[in-house]
Amino acid sequence: MAFFFQELVNGVTNGALYALVALGFSMVYGVLKLLNFAHGDLYMVGAFIGYFVIQWFGGPTALTIPVPLLLLIMFILAAGVVGGLGVAIERFAYRPLRDAPRIAPLITAIGVSFFLENAALLLFGAQYRVYNTADFISLSSGIQIGSVTIDSVQIMVLVLGLVLMVGLRELVNRTKLGKQMRAVAADREAAEMLGINVNRTIAATFFLGSALAGVAGVMAGLLFNQVNNTIGFTAGLFAFTAAVVGGIGSLPGAMLGGLLIGLAQSFVTGYISSTYTNLLVFALLIVVMLVRPSGLLGRAQLQKV
């Protein structure tokens, strides 16, 4: 039973990360119908920002500020910078193509992804940068229930992930900006005719989605310890899958999809074999898509004739 709970904790933690990145995917798709393949690379940029913040404040073994303040700066800076980067990408790479055939922004998104990945290679080099989280957040801190271990970084990821997801849901459902986002997602032209500033709404969507990816990048750095220019690819792939399985465009769907993938990976690894993790996880997802083609919480698109 302890083994089951250990895998549950591992799966939920990873799932929370996937969910945060998937939310950005889903938000952007919701308002622009664009698969932003550069989204995983924004997560990578966030992870680098977290790493450099640690270095700026003395490095993991000689921090010059308290750890809670360090974490706060890491998360705020990553959210702000990556959010701003997302807005810039939208402004210069996607907005000029907004009325172009859908394949054009898709290809541009792939180009932006390569650009970010290789810009990071040129700027930061190829080597893995290591957070060394254990040097400033003890591995023994956290909760130990029998043989089940939940360390404080995992707890932080779970709590912060949950807070961000609930916060985003409230923002979308209860604020003026959220209403504008939903209106643009439902019908961009109609929203514009109603006086909604579409460009600003889309920019805000990109900022929020990218900021979440930035925060997720810092969480990943703290949890997995390592960052280099290629980590965004895998994260982006799983997040994209999570968004699609949950129902792309649906925020609760992205959260559910992320958790589902995290748990599936964890339990397949634990109870069957790591050799077959991706095979079985994606087989499960194919089954889900066959049963519910629009995703678990997605709505079937009305066909206009």
Partner: protein
């Protein structure tokens, strides 16, 4: 608007391509004022294939740095004007094939250093043979590569059929596990070593849990949960040291006491520092070889810290440089055929690797060996004698 679209697309494409691959870019080192022996202007190009970008770019960049370092030193010593043409393979056989096609079509290239991975050698071996182009790898260790299929292939490191059983016997004799977990990283290098080790373990009556994870995996908590109290050793024939560091952290996080035994790619002081772990490497720690002090100093000042992937490529580049210089000394112009012939007769009594370099008829390094290190509590690598 349309103009903006075209401009933006073109700019992004150009930037992506510029950063994406360095295939075809070249760097040369000017000849110094050494006491070289080449009697007339000795000009040639050599190709350098390595994973310069991608998940193991950290290894490929180290290899490139040491190739450039060797070239600079040899050009100065031999008064040659040899330049390097870089080819980024990303440790991907398809990409390696594309790069090799470019190299074989470039008649200025008389020999190639690399590629890094055994799977890449398998892909490009026939192309190199057809072009009569010698290629020397500093890290491809799969035993079958020198079975006669690729007559122009050489390597300056030993092979898996030596390393796998040697490591397995060490684990059995010194760590005495009743059960162990062995995890491959789904690359030919890793699966080859697993295949070489597993029969030795099972023959010794050890229970083996074979697992497999992608090199892109960054979290091992689910895998580590499967490490039972009876599992006292986790064997990681991996190429990404930071992944092993994370697995070690996951072990500590879950209060598991198993010892990590890694290979080659895990030799990375500063990155893989789990106390009590072992690393078996095809390359020595050249910082502990007094004769290499000048090279170590030059490499550190120019490129910073390094592991064991760079020095063998230095040795491979040096072999090619010396072969070209010897062709020039004999009054000939370097060509693929005469450089290949010169490489075959290589006989260096000493090398950066702390051992002589000569090749057997199949291209294997004569008397190649592996080195075993243990990591202490300070994260330092201590050579285990014998």
């Amino acid at each position: 608007m349309r103009g903006h679209v075209i401009l933006a697309t073109a700019a992004l494409g150009a930037l992506a391509i510029a950063g994406c691959g360095s295939s075809g870019s070249s760097s040369s080192s000017s000849g110094g004022a050494g006491t070289g022996a080449a009697t007339k202007s000795c000009v040639a190009s050599i190709g350098m294939e390595g994973p310069l970008t991608g998940p193991v770019a950290t290894l490929g960049q180290e290899q490139l740095h040491f190739a450039e370092l060797a070239l600079a030193m040899d050009n100065q010593a031999n008064k040659t004007k040899i330049s390097i043409v870089q080819g980024d393979t990303q440790l991907n056989p398809a990409q390696a094939t594309t790069v090799t096609q470019q190299f074989t079509a470039n008649t200025k290239i008389v020999a190639v250093v690399g590629p890094a991975g055994s799977q890449e050698v398998e892909a490009i071996g026939p192309l190199m043979a057809r072009a009569g182009l010698a290629f020397i790898s500093g890290s491809a260790t799969n035993a079958t590569l020198t079975a006669g299929k690729y007559p122009t292939f050489f390597r300056v490191v030993s092979k898996d059929s030596v390393q796998g059983p040697q490591d397995a016997h060490y684990i059995i004799s010194n760590l005495h596990p009743k059960a162990l977990m062995i995890v491959d990283d789904q690359e030919a290098y890793s699966t080859g070593l697993v295949s070489a080790m597993t029969p030795v373990f099972t023959a010794a009556g050890i229970k083996v849990d074979h697992e497999s994870v992608s090199q892109k995996t960054t979290d091992f908590s689910s895998l580590v949960a499967k490490v039972t109290p009876a599992t006292t050793v986790v064997v990681l024939p991996w190429q990404v040291a930071s992944n092993a560091q994370q697995l070690g952290r996951n072990l500590a996080q879950q209060h598991k006491k198993a010892v990590i035994f890694g290979t080659d790619g895990l030799f990375s002081p500063g990155t893989f520092t789990i106390n009590g772990s072992y690393v078996s490497s095809f390359g020595p720690d050249i910082t502990a070889i007094p004769a290499d002090a000048a090279i170590v100093a030059a490499a550190k000042s120019k490129y910073g810290s390094f592991g064991t992937f760079g020095p063998p490529v230095f040795a491979a580049t040096h072999v090619v440089d010396e072969a070209i210089a010897s062709v020039c000394k004999s009054g000939n112009t370097p060509s693929r055929s005469n450089v290949l012939a010169a490489i075959k007769t290589t006989n260096e009594p000493a090398s950066i690797l702390g051992q002589p370099i000569s090749f057997g008829s199949s291209g294997d390094l004569t008397n190649g060996k592996f080195f075993l290190f243990k990591i202490n509590s300070a994260g330092s690598y201590q050579l285990i004698p014998g």
